[in-house]
């Protein structure tokens, strides 16, 4: 393990050098495309230049699209022939991301690589190409609660990077990246730090099994009217892994078409619709309960860790200002026999 310091010009040199061999993917500022007028959108995208890399703010969407695209063709059909598409970009990929998101991708691994003891090959072939370049978080952003979710720390990275005002410090764990950095940088003793305190205090429920009556508790009722089932919490979440399979045919030839999988989410209408008209969780409150339990309760029963990593993006993006972390706190209060009808 070695560390180096760079000025921004030197870092740009390393960035350019890496860009010749690797696909570079990270948070990028898109001016004027934010939710409100005159605000910018921070989103994950391919990076061409070092200036593209947004190092100060939290991204609106998570990096999960690099392993689990919103829309992916699984088969091309020609008559009765099934053909799997090649990856459009076969390069090894460096992804710049924060500790919570590294933990988040590990949660996706649980589903796509472990659950049911079958590996999802579409996920796997993208996942195998990833090298994590961790962007250090020293202070929690708005709505973040990674410390409560035990997802503030990780040692699963090729390099860890601190972007300070005057210099960039890099610790290298994966030796194969050493050369690219060592030639330009000055040796240092940089060691990344991790967030120690959440910006929002979150108390997780301390129960082995949820009591049956909490499923129908009135605490979920407010979400019946507040949630509009837009699914932004699902799409922004780094750990939401649900998808639907959709077949299409091309308008010019019914013989040719595709099978695709597209992101789906438990807050969206139709998520449980079965042929014949039967469905589950028609009320939005039930969907909120289902998501909440998956993120902080039942995933743990299956995989011994919580699914939610506390990135707080669901709170950032909700058009109805529903706070997931507040919901967790309300649930914990209710389970411990505390506050009833607040808010």
């Amino acid at each position: 393990m070695q560390s180096f310091d760079f000025n921004y010009q030197q870092f740009a040199e390393v960035f350019a050098r890496l860009g010749k061999k690797f696909r570079l993917f990270g948070p990028k500022r898109v001016p004027g495309r934010g939710r409100f007028s005159d605000t910018d959108l921070i989103t994950y995208a391919d990076l061409q230049n070092p200036e593209d890399l947004e190092t100060a703010e939290k991204s609106y969407l998570s990096p999960k699209s690099i392993v689990f695209p919103p829309d992916e063709t699984t088969f091309y059909f020609t008559a009765d022939q099934f053909t799997e598409p090649e990856l459009s970009d076969n390069r090894e990929t460096i992804v710049f991301l924060r500790p919570c998101d590294i933990n988040g991708i590990e949660r996706l691994d649980r589903i796509f690589l472990e659950n049911g003891k079958v590996k999802d090959p579409y996920y796997q072939r993208r996942r195998e190409k990833l090298h994590f370049f961790m962007i250090e978080c020293r202070e929690s952003f708005e709505n973040c609660f990674c410390v409560a979710m035990n997802a503030n720390r990780t040692d699963n990275f090729a390099t860890a990077i601190r972007f300070a005002p005057e210099k960039v410090s890099v610790m290298i764990q994966n030796e194969s990246f050493l050369e690219a950095f060592a030639e330009v940088g000055k040796k240092s003793d940089f060691v990344p730090e991790f967030v120690k305190k959440d910006s929002k205090a979150v108390n997780l429920p301390d129960v082995e099994d949820m009591p049956a009556d909490i499923f129908s508790d009135s605490l979920w009722d407010e979400y019946d009217s507040r949630c509009i089932a837009c699914g932004r919490c699902n799409t922004s979440c780094v750990t939401c892994s649900c998808f639907s399979t959709v077949d299409i045919f091309y308008p010019d030839s019914r013989n040719c078409g595709e099978r695709r999988r597209v992101w789906d989410g438990c807050h969206l209408d139709g998520f449980t619709d079965m042929a014949g008209g039967h469905s589950f969780r028609k009320d939005k409150g039930d969907r909120m309960r289902f998501k909440t339990f998956h993120k902080i309760y039942d995933f743990r029963k299956r995989f011994s860790e919580d699914m939610c990593v506390g990135c707080g993006r669901c709170d950032d993006v909700c058009p109805e200002y529903i706070s997931f972390s507040s919901c967790i706190n309300k649930l914990s209060d209710r389970l411990s026999g505390g506050k009833k009808d607040e808010e």
Binding site: D120, D264, M274, A275, D286, D298
Partner: protein, 264 residues
């Protein structure tokens, strides 16, 4: 891509049996190691894919009994013998046959719930499970919805078979009433030595299992099978998850002690 679990195989339709106005059985040429209760992901390229339970099988063919009520099933309904469908599977956890050996088996099926239990009925009747006895109660809304009627004579010969429709209708001479009414009449059975299978619509399973519990059947001797939307069948897509349970992996057949704790 090696070992792509999403890649289906082509299966030629050998025979189509019209069961009711909207239900039909496709027999396809395919070989698989199947446990009764398991399902396949059945698809047609450019139309879609859906989970369909196996309603019968031999070494050489598999049958799927399908109700034409959805995007895929309506198109499957139009197919002819000799046409090809695509299947992958079998998936899920089927009935625990070893638990039924040397036991009295009671199977209660409601409506199209008879399809996933039919392979179990056949294996119980041909001696390959080794059950002590089989009692079968099949209930339908009306006579028009009755499935597999061509096998009823055989079943009635080989086991204690009760066919019932929910409401009396002109010309019907058989049993009437919900399956729960017929479950209540089962008090002469030694429930300590009996396993119970209940498959059908959610409401039917809820009340039928409650009847058995009232009769004194231990909850761990009751088995049900769930039906949920699925896109993958292999624990990835998330549609069929209830609590920590994936119906596609841990089910569709679940013990009542497990199933009764699940809240969608």
């Amino acid at each position: 891509m090696k070992n792509n679990p999403y890649r289906p195989v082509a299966a030629r339709i050998l025979k189509i049996t019209r069961e009711t106005a909207i239900e039909f059985t496709l027999r396809v040429e395919a070989q698989a190691d199947i446990t009764p209760g398991q399902f396949f992901q059945v698809s047609l390229p450019r139309t879609g894919e859906a989970p369909i339970s196996v309603s019968s099988f031999t070494r050489d063919w598999i049958e799927f009994t399908i109700r034409a009520v959805g995007k895929l099933t309506n198109v499957l309904h139009q197919l002819k013998e000799g046409d090809t469908i695509f299947i992958r599977g079998p998936y899920g956890t089927g009935f625990p046959l070893e638990k039924y050996k040397d036991r009295n088996l009671i199977i209660v099926a409601g409506g199209s719930g008879l399809a996933p239990v039919r392979p179990l009925i056949q294996k119980a009747l041909d001696g390959s499970i080794g059950v002590k006895s089989l009692r079968l109660i099949a209930g339908f809304k009306n006579s028009e919805g009755i499935l597999f009627s061509h096998q009823f004579e055989d079943w009635a010969d080989k086991c204690d078979f009760t066919l019932t429709i929910d409401k009396p209708e002109p010309g019907w001479t058989g049993n009437t009433g919900m399956v729960t009414e017929h479950i209540r009449k089962l008090s002469d059975i030694d429930f300590a030595d009996t396993e119970v299978v209940v498959v059908g619509p959610g409401v039917m399973m809820k009340f039928s299992t409650a009847e058995f519990v009232l009769l004194g059947v231990a909850e761990e001797k009751i088995w049900v099978s769930f039906e949920r939307l699925m896109s993958c069948g292999i624990g990835k897509c998330g549609h069929c998850k209830i609590d920590y349970t994936y119906v596609c992996l841990d089910g569709p057949v679940l013990n009542y002690t497990h199933a009764s704790t699940l809240i969608d």
